[in-house]
């Protein structure tokens, strides 16, 4: 695991030096603007507006980073041939892949943690003092992080066998499809043949169920998130992520570099 950690720390360093964390400035400005504006125009719903806006921004910014940097993690190394010298060291290809994944997840965690602090600051500007229900935000952020980790894994999988452009398209496409996995599973329509329904249901179980990780609505209205849901989602993300990464490692371990 030492090799994985060495690659991960370097990936984090790359993200920092490539100014990935600069998005925090945008987030800070958004939150400050929202806090000032919401305080003036909303009466009684400041908290839910700020929380919804903040969590959506955390999620969207995170998805951008996960998709675009996730795809580049492997493809950039192959294009620039920085991988050549590295793979000639005593490093297994799966260790490189896992290290890159871990490095970006650490970057996303730091980024998300900083944005969460910003969100709490904005919240404290419109609401004094913070109450116990405000801490449900952390649970929502944790679930967003799980979702982002899964997106990174998918982006890396696609970048192992296709061009960066197609990998971005596939990742975004699968993310959007994953948002509707639940609907696909429970769909009832009289106009669709039972065999087609069964096929849809089968596909829905293969798709990553991203809607599972969305508890923004509940948290924005101060409702708690059941512990069991958090546990199930954690297990789901770990299992699904592990399968995606294992498939990526299998493809990458036999890939001929240019």
């Amino acid at each position: 695991m030492k090799n994985v950690w060495v690659v991960a720390t370097n990936t984090f360093r790359e993200a920092v030096r490539d100014r990935v964390l600069y998005n925090l400035v945008f987030f800070a400005l958004l939150m400050m603007g929202a806090a000032i504006l919401v305080g003036q125009i909303s009466i009684g719903i400041e908290q839910s507006v700020i929380v919804s806006l903040g969590l959506t921004a955390i999620s969207v910014i995170g998805i951008f980073i996960a998709v675009f940097i996730g795809v580049g993690l492997v493809s950039k190394e192959m294009d620039k041939r920085t991988l050549y010298a590295l793979l000639a060291k005593p490093v297994e290809r799966w260790q490189f892949l896992l290290g890159k994944f871990a490095g970006l997840v650490v970057t996303l965690t730091v980024n998300t943690a900083a944005m969460t602090v910003g969100l709490y600051l904005a919240l404290s500007m419109v609401k004094h003092p913070l109450t116990r229900s405000d801490w449900y935000l952390v649970v929502a952020v944790y679930l967003i992080l799980l979702k982002l980790a899964l997106i990174v894994a998918l982006a890396m999988l696609f970048s192992c066998f296709t061009s960066p452009f197609l990998a971005i398209l596939f990742t975004v496409g699968l993310y959007i499809a994953g948002l509707f996995a639940q609907e696909l599973r429970t769909m009832r329509a009289v106009t669709i043949a039972p065999s087609t329904m069964r096929m849809f249901r089968g596909i829905s179980y293969l798709l990553p169920n991203f809607e599972n990780f969305n508890v923004m609505g509940a948290v924005a209205h101060g409702r708690g998130v059941p512990g069991m849901l958090v546990l199930q989602n954690t297990g789901y993300a770990v299992l699904y992520g592990a399968m995606v990464m294992a498939l990526a490692a299998m493809i990458f371990s036999r890939k001929n570099l240019k």
Binding site: K80, R81, Y84, A88
Partner: protein, 318 residues
């Protein structure tokens, strides 16, 4: 360490191409050869001959279509083999957001080195490749030659037994090439095995115990540079000086000159007669040298033969 450091057996590589990847292009064909321990082995061939393909196969950057290879007795599939191997890729490119020190520290962490040892070696290598003053500059500001030096430093950083260098002189100025040559000779002196690819034949002649020539994906010969080109003399070269217009003599009509200095080629059997002729004409003999074919001529003959064969196949195909 006695025996072969690198053993290659019937290594072939085919690349699929075409819309459905149904066609295959063979870039390496049944390559078998050995590089002995402690020797400097030059891998020669024109661009696209299969030199880099062979090296990439050895470094498991690409996978063979058939055949096997072992380095230091271990299969190339065995990652642990890389503990004792150093590799410099062709036209190396590294993480440009790192400084040379950071890059070497990063690579050193994959080897079994203590922290103190790691720091010491990094500093030593930076000094060895002449980058001590630029060690804190990000690699994005480095020239091609400087990157080549960093590449060389990371290849020998962990004191490997076998060093594989893909075109190590490419992109270097004369001074840089001299330094790389010195490093290769130093590695040889320390008893390391060095395999390097090049198309600069003078470097191979100067450094290699043995060379292998590859053209069109096929190994055309392995031996010492002398063996490869043969020791047979191609004649004698005589330099002489002749003052004034003097009297014309037969040898003078065959000579070329720069001012009063002349050069003429004669057969080995005619040498003494030619020297007598020059003496009686009042010429001063400056030097007499045996003419031998160079590695370059041998190499060019192979390339020409390969091209002629390829053209013949094209024509018969039409």
């Amino acid at each position: 360490m006695p025996g072969a450091a690198i053993e290659i057996e019937k290594l072939s590589k085919e690349y699929p191409y075409g819309f459905l990847h149904l066609k295959k292009k063979r870039s390496l064909e049944d390559l078998s050869m050995q590089v002995q321990s402690d020797e400097v082995f030059g891998f020669l061939g024109p661009n696209g001959a299969g030199k880099s393909t062979t090296i990439k196969l050895l470094m498991r950057l690409i996978f063979p279509s058939s055949g096997t290879a072992r380095i230091l007795g271990k299969s190339i599939e065995d990652v642990s083999m890389h503990q004792d191997i150093g590799y410099l890729p062709e036209q190396p490119y590294f993480y440009d957001y790192l400084t040379a020190t950071e890059l070497l520290e990063y690579f050193a962490r994959f080897h079994k080195l203590s922290e103190t040892d790691r720091h010491e070696r990094v500093q030593k290598m930076l000094k060895k490749v002449g980058l001590e003053t630029a060690k804190k500059i990000q690699l994005r500001k480095y020239s091609k030659g400087m990157l080549q030096r960093v590449g060389l430093a990371q290849a020998i950083l962990h004191d490997p037994q076998v060093v594989v260098l893909d075109e190590p002189m490419s992109g270097l100025d004369p001074l840089g090439r001299r330094e790389v040559r010195d490093i290769i000779l130093e590695l040889k002196k320390e008893g390391r095995t060095v395999l390097f690819s090049t198309h600069i034949l003078s470097d191979a002649e100067m450094l290699c115990d043995r060379v292998g020539v590859i053209v069109g994906g096929k190994l055309r010969g392995v031996g010492t540079p002398g063996e490869m080109v043969g020791m047979e003399s191609q004649g004698m070269e005589v330099f002489f000086e002749l003052h004034g217009s003097g009297q014309a003599f037969p040898l003078l009509s065959r000579a070329t000159n720069t001012g009063e200095r002349y050069r003429v080629e004669v057969a080995e059997a005619e040498l003494y007669a030619a020297l007598d002729e020059l003496k009686s004409a009042g010429a001063r003999i400056l030097s007499v040298t045996q003419l031998k074919p160079t590695l370059e001529e041998f190499f060019m003959n192979l390339v020409d033969a390969d091209r002629a064969q390829a053209n013949a196949v094209d024509v018969s195909g039409k």
